[in-house]
């Protein structure tokens, strides 16, 4: 009882803090950094929903992000769709890709899914370069219209999207559905023996995860006003995975904190530009060894039990 109330208060406090930050400090630079961190938050949460809960690690989340961003960019620049239409279109497109990769790989045991996602992202990036006449090649698509013209307005929109996605996925993860996904992580054979259609749940949750990654990609495209093949890069996926690990796998809310923390920290490390990826990879190795449960979710749980104990 207390636990729930504290969770709710914590969430409200976090939203209020994020909403107040640009008002207190102001400046377009900070707003920009915060917007990017919030978009990464959407990506990290969507990754965690599928991979964190079922334990099927997705090494190519950038595939869905890139597909969403390119769909939005393409519809906007070529057909003049407004952002409000390209956003759902991007989600649908990402779900189609999830289906195509998920059906052959997720019915199998073993590492096929992880490797297929990795290959899928690599090949999509290559294809964007090879078919440069259609995709714009290295330059990507330029001249995408902004979703919302005011910077502050855009930030609040992205923040609202993050809150919505997180709330939705948290509710799903705590429902019957989430229970099944966690059970799949624990012992797939037992789930099957209990009459659960494991494959269906795995593919469906990959599609949900892909839909929100694609939505995040579309928001990103309408924020940066251009998309480039770099979005498909392994770097994007590994950044997201590191954020989830820092936040705490399978907690859904943890990765949000991980994403915001890491984006803000890397802004502080901007002078080390070239070293950024190196720092991410080493952080990941260190976390895997010393903090396998992550940083943010366990800290929150400890704080919560302290608060609940005092009351």
């Amino acid at each position: 009882m207390f636990g729930k109330r504290i969770d709710f208060a914590g969430a409200l406090g976090f939203i209020a803090f994020m909403a107040a930050l640009p008002l207190i400090f102001g400046g377009n630079y900070l707003i920009g950094v915060l917007t990017v961190s919030v978009i990464y938050g959407i990506w990290a949460v969507s990754w965690d929903f599928m991979s964190g809960l079922t334990g099927r690690e997705n090494f190519g989340h950038s595939l869905f992000i890139g597909v969403g961003a390119y769909t939005a960019g393409f519809l906007n620049t070529t057909f003049g769709f407004s952002g409000w239409w390209s956003l759902p279109a991007a989600m649908v497109m990402a779900m189609v890709f999830a289906l195509v990769i998920g059906v052959p790989t997720l019915r199998l045991k073993g590492p096929y899914f992880a490797l297929a996602m990795l290959s899928g992202a690599v090949i999509m990036q290559r294809l964007m370069l090879i078919f440069w006449e259609q995709t714009g090649g290295e330059e990507g698509i330029n001249g995408i219209e902004p979703l919302i013209r005011s910077q502050l307005g855009f930030y609040y929109f992205a923040l609202a999207a993050l809150v919505l996605v997180t709330a939705l996925l948290l509710a799903l993860a705590r429902s019957h559905w989430g229970l099944i996904l966690r059970a799949v992580r624990g012992d797939e054979a037992t789930c099957q023996a209990a009459g659960i259609n494991v494959t269906f749940y795995k593919i469906a949750s990959l599609m949900i995860s892909a839909a929100f990654a694609g939505a995040g990609g579309a928001i990103y495209a309408h924020y940066q006003l251009q998309v480039s093949p770099q979005l498909f890069a392994i770097v994007t996926s590994i950044t997201i995975i590191t954020m989830v690990y820092v936040g705490g796998m399978a907690s859904i809310y943890g990765p949000v904190g991980g994403a915001i923390l890491l984006v803000l920290l890397t802004e502080l490390l901007r002078n080390f530009g070239e070293w950024r990826l190196m720092i991410y990879s080493c952080t990941l190795i260190l976390i895997l060894f010393f903090l396998p449960n992550g940083l943010i979710a366990p800290t929150w749980r400890r704080m919560k039990s302290m608060l609940a104990g005092r009351e």
Binding site: F59, V103, P111, V235, Y245, L277, M278, L284, P292
Partner: protein, 284 residues
């Protein structure tokens, strides 16, 4: 026609060297090593560094590069992979992280521009009216020899039977007094050395840059799926199929479409026969 035959054989040989090592360490230790492509990249960069910067002659430079990469493979297995072996996911994560660290180290020390690895053989040969670079023929010959030696080593020696035993059942092998941890290290070293040899041999006619690890790992993965995870004959056959399929597509349609071949092969194989051509273990 002859052109397709020769070039297909060369790329098949390079693929086979990569895929055999990749499948070997999986078959024996159940380690899916995403850093396998990095061994290949490090081999090529090692040959470049020792010849261009330290001015060593090519042959010792190449051997030194291969030996150092093998050592690096053993260290990675010992220090990073072994504590994580319980969870396949953690192994995947840690090897991917290693691959990225290697890419970054190469980028920070050598920059992103292409590097030239010197060729062993500079002359061009003409076979039946087709010009083929000598280095390509050498790569073909050496990789066939290396794979044959590996095969003989596994089938005919004591250490080879120990490797086979561990791959069949590590626990039972342990009871028979085979130190399976040491076998894992040896196999990791072998697999890294093969990948590095592929890098040294293919370096002169392929692009050598920090991100060069990525496509080989994707290709090795496709080959290993088609051939069956853990099966060496399967991956050799699949390497031949992929090498020739890519060459034929490159000649008949366009080189742009070659990248699609491996993806298509992987997807079709996973749909229709997930265990691969020679895979014994059921994937379901």
């Amino acid at each position: 026609m002859l052109e397709i035959l020769i070039h297909g054989a060369v790329s098949s040989a390079i693929y086979a060297m990569l895929a055999v090592g990749f499948t070997l360490i999986f078959g024996v230790a159940r380690i899916l090593n995403l850093a396998h492509g990095s061994f290949y990249a490090l081999g090529a960069y090692g040959a470049y560094f020792f010849t261009a910067q330290l001015k060593l002659p090519l042959l010792p430079a190449a051997l030194l590069a291969i030996a150092l990469v093998a050592l690096f493979g053993v260290v990675v297995e010992r220090v990073l992979v072994r504590p994580m072996r319980r969870s396949q996911l953690a192994v995947l994560m840690i090897t991917l992280a290693v691959a990225l660290v290697v890419e970054q180290v190469l980028f920070l020390t050598f920059g992103s521009e292409y590097r030239n690895v010197p060729a062993f053989v500079e002359t061009k040969f003409t076979i039946g009216g087709v010009d083929v670079g000598g280095q390509r023929l050498l790569a073909l010959g050496v990789s066939v020899t290396l794979i044959a030696l590996l095969w003989i080593f596994i089938q005919r020696t004591r250490l080879g039977s120990a490797i086979l035993a561990v791959s069949q059942d590590p626990e039972a092998a342990n009871y028979m007094g085979i130190p399976s941890d040491r076998i894992f290290s040896i196999v990791m070293g072998l697999s890294a050395a093969l990948a590095a040899a592929a890098g040294v041999l293919a370096g002169p006619f392929l692009t050598v840059q920090p991100t060069m690890w990525l496509l080989p790992i994707v290709k090795a993965f496709a080959i290993v799926i088609v051939g069956g995870l853990g099966s060496i004959p399967g991956s050799i056959l699949a390497a031949l199929m992929l090498g020739y399929a890519e060459t034929i597509v490159g000649y008949l349609i366009s080189t742009s479409w070659t990248e699609i071949v491996s993806v298509l092969a992987t997807l079709l194989m996973l749909v229709f026969r997930p265990a691969g051509i020679f895979g014994k273990r059921a994937a379901f």
